[in-house]
Symmetry: C3
Subunit: 344 residues, 3 copies
């Protein structure tokens, strides 16, 4: 789809400088512009690109001064970043406008379907599932028995949701994510063999949660594994059985949360972090990449780093010494020679 | 489904105290009880919940003394934990009672099918596959050519098994697991380019193995990647080509075993452990979370921690010093000043 | 399929010693041979197996001397390893000879299909996708709108490719890999809540790239996440939005590359490596397993190890001291007692 500068300016309540009939059909960073692309300039650091960019239209702040002529058409607005972001959102939401049902799909007779739902081909909805209004179930999705899904939630191709799990409204779950597989629980029996502990709980995901591709959230042994409102999980994350993750906590890719951990609100975990089982993490805790946490963190807003985890500043100081350990050892050996030499 | 206290007591050879007509339709931990839920009490630590719980029925040990009246109906048995576990198993196995074939599925004409098999919609079984009795192939599963699957094995939605792999009896493979993708083998050619080394072996999974969601087990270059009887693998684990994992070894989420490793029996690896290639790990070895193992472990029952891995106790002692390294360095610098000062 | 020694020798331009009518139907390592298997001997380390192997036919170098009689039929060639590899490749490529279309599939009317394409059952190709000649789309694959796929590329069962992504020629993508899911981008709003930043870029994968099972490559926020020619990615790898990975770089399983990293050519990363965001890694850099890189690496061909990463040799030296830190601390304490004792 092509849009004219004049139409975009109207939508943004902005003003055009240049050709009001200039058209664009794509977005691009100002430094990667091309004819037919719409860009924006907000950060003064990128100002030089305003004069070089190949983009057809650039959104700028009203206050932006021009030092030289520009080749592109300009649209001046109050807040260039915000205006550009609102266009991106408009574009992104237009991608989710599908509704109806492709064929073949499998929808059990006892499923309850809201309005304006999309069901992509090769998707499967088992008995007694309840699907809210405006839900988009893309292709090759599996929804088990008794699953409930709230309004406006989007399930990308290949998502698997086991029986009895509950997904909130306005969630987005990416391809390959597995919600509700069995928790990892086995009781030793005989000398060396294991017996499976049945995992009969479920997963409860509240509203506005985003879950990345191939992330796994295991069902509880009993009760629920709970992901609270506004949580954002990146790709390839492991969330074990009976974990609870507090509101608006954000976790980066490949992190793993062991069984029965209780993570607070507004935490931020970087990538490849690991938490041992049964830990409590206070609200607002930040944990650096690859950290390994083996004890509860009780102080809110702690900043932790390392494996095992420790106070961030202490960890940075320790790392500085670790890098120079061979020197430290040499120095100690030298001191020992001096002292023991004197002693002898 | 609802069950009366009297029916549950009969099944467990127990006795009812309270209302024999009380009914329950769910399981709950005693501390998370609700009307209509069945709970148990075995651990004295939780005894106080017996008087507080909202659960309708609680299973307790015959010997359990009551200090106060309880609101719930009690069922007394010899071993409350075991009785409760047997009910959980009964419930869990009832989830796997499906048989027959949903539509559409793709089953090649040359497939050999046992009795009482379930094949879910959108599943695919390629030529010459052999599927044992009572196997449950859930939805959207892929089974490649010449694959053999033993009796009672359960494949959850979306499992992918490449051609020629062999799966034992009584196995459970969770959604998104990939069995038999190519091992990661490339030979340098020219200056900087790589040529793929064909991966023509397979994966052999023996009986009673459980494999977690999105775990990957690569096929051997030649021969077999082998997962022995009773092995339990958690989610998001990587098992590279030509690995062998010994009987009843248990590996937690996000661990990775590099090519040609030979892991012994009854080992336990915690989460996010990594093994370098071509290592041999003795029987009964325990490896702590996030450890990185770069040498074979020859002593059975070793307990290892750290990256690189070392004896667990030594590692814990080293970690204590690491946390205080800046202090140690200060002390050494101070000693140096004293000594060098004297020397000068 | 069975092959006679005389036929194999003709194909390899070799000569038969023994029974020209001996037949084989499988490949095996010489030390794991069985009747009906073809093996090779190139490495003198394995020479003893030549006299012990149960393989029916063994390919050896022309120059190979025999110290004792052998039981198997021999085929002598100029380069036994290369001849064997060429047979493996012939076998592996014969696995990809399928073409045509299984049913059911979903192929939108606006899809452009080349010649000799295979589309497996339950696969989905959305509008305006362009599929090159000889592409093999195995079962349960999802190809989003406007995706382009070059010639000879193989997509294994269950691969998911989101809209607008571009895949080159001669690529191989394994089961469960997710190409083009949203990058992980959220802007804080209000006190503690997050707003999704639309991810409207794509993923561009150039020619001869291999991508492992369940690996995730996120689409760019704007612009492209780029995987250059000849890159090889193992299983369960995370590649975040706006990353660029240079030609012929090889990355082992479970590594994670954070957003906007630019990795050079011909790099080699071992398993479970993590890179922080916005780093530049020079060409030819090698990074050891479980390393955590938090700063750009500017020197080509650097060899890096550790978390945080440092020069490989320095890291090894530090690790040696880390293992003996408790001893070092004791020594320092002892020196202190001696010195302070003197001082007092």
């Amino acid at each position: 789809m092509e849009f004219k500068a004049s139409v975009i300016a109207d939508f943004l309540h902005g003003t055009v400088e240049g050709d009001p009939d200039a058209t664009v059909s794509a977005f691009a960073k100002i430094e990667e512009g091309h004819p037919g692309a719409l860009s924006f300039l907000a950060n003064p650091k990128y100002e030089k690109y305003l004069y070089e960019t190949a983009s057809g239209i650039v959104i700028i702040n009203k206050a932006q001064k021009l030092e030289r002529p520009v080749k592109c058409t300009l649209i001046r607005v109050d807040d260039a970043y915000r205006s550009f972001a609102s266009l991106l959102e408009l574009y992104a939401s237009s991608q989710q406008e599908k509704s109806g049902r492709e064929e073949p799909v499998f929808v059990a007779a006892s499923v309850t379907l809201g309005e304006n739902i999309f069901i992509g081909a090769f998707s499967y909805i088992a008995g007694n599932a309840r699907i809210g209004n405006n839900v988009k179930i893309h292709q090759q999705v599996y929804i088990g028995e008794n699953v409930a899904i709230g309004e406006n939630t989007v399930l990308y191709p290949g998502v698997k949701i086991y029986h009895d799990c509950i997904i909130g409204s306005d969630c987005m779950i990416h391809s390959g994510a597995v919600i509700g597989a069995d928790g990892f629980g086995f009781a030793p029996q005989n000398a060396a063999d294991y017996k499976k502990i049945p995992q009969i709980g479920n997963v409860v995901i509240e509203d506005r949660v985003e879950i990345g591709a191939n992330t796994c959230i295991d069902r509880a042994t009993m009760g629920s594994t709970i992901i609270r409102k506004g949580v954002k999980l990146d790709n390839l994350i492991q969330v074990a059985h009976n974990v609870e993750i507090g509101e608006n906590t954000v976790i980066a890719a490949q992190s793993g949360i062991s069984g029965s951990c209780k993570v607070g609100r507004n935490c931020m975990f970087a990538g490849q972090v690991g938490l041992a089982g049964h830990l409590a993490i206070a609200d607002g805790v930040k944990i650096g990449a690859q950290s390994g946490i083996n004890a509860s963190i009780k102080k809110p807003d702690s900043v932790i780093l390392g494996s095992p985890g420790m106070d961030y500043q202490d960890c940075i100081k320790s790392y500085v010494v670790v890098r120079r350990l061979p020197d430290l050892k040499k120095k100690v050996d030298e001191l020992e020679r001096i002292i023991k030499g004197k002693d002898s």
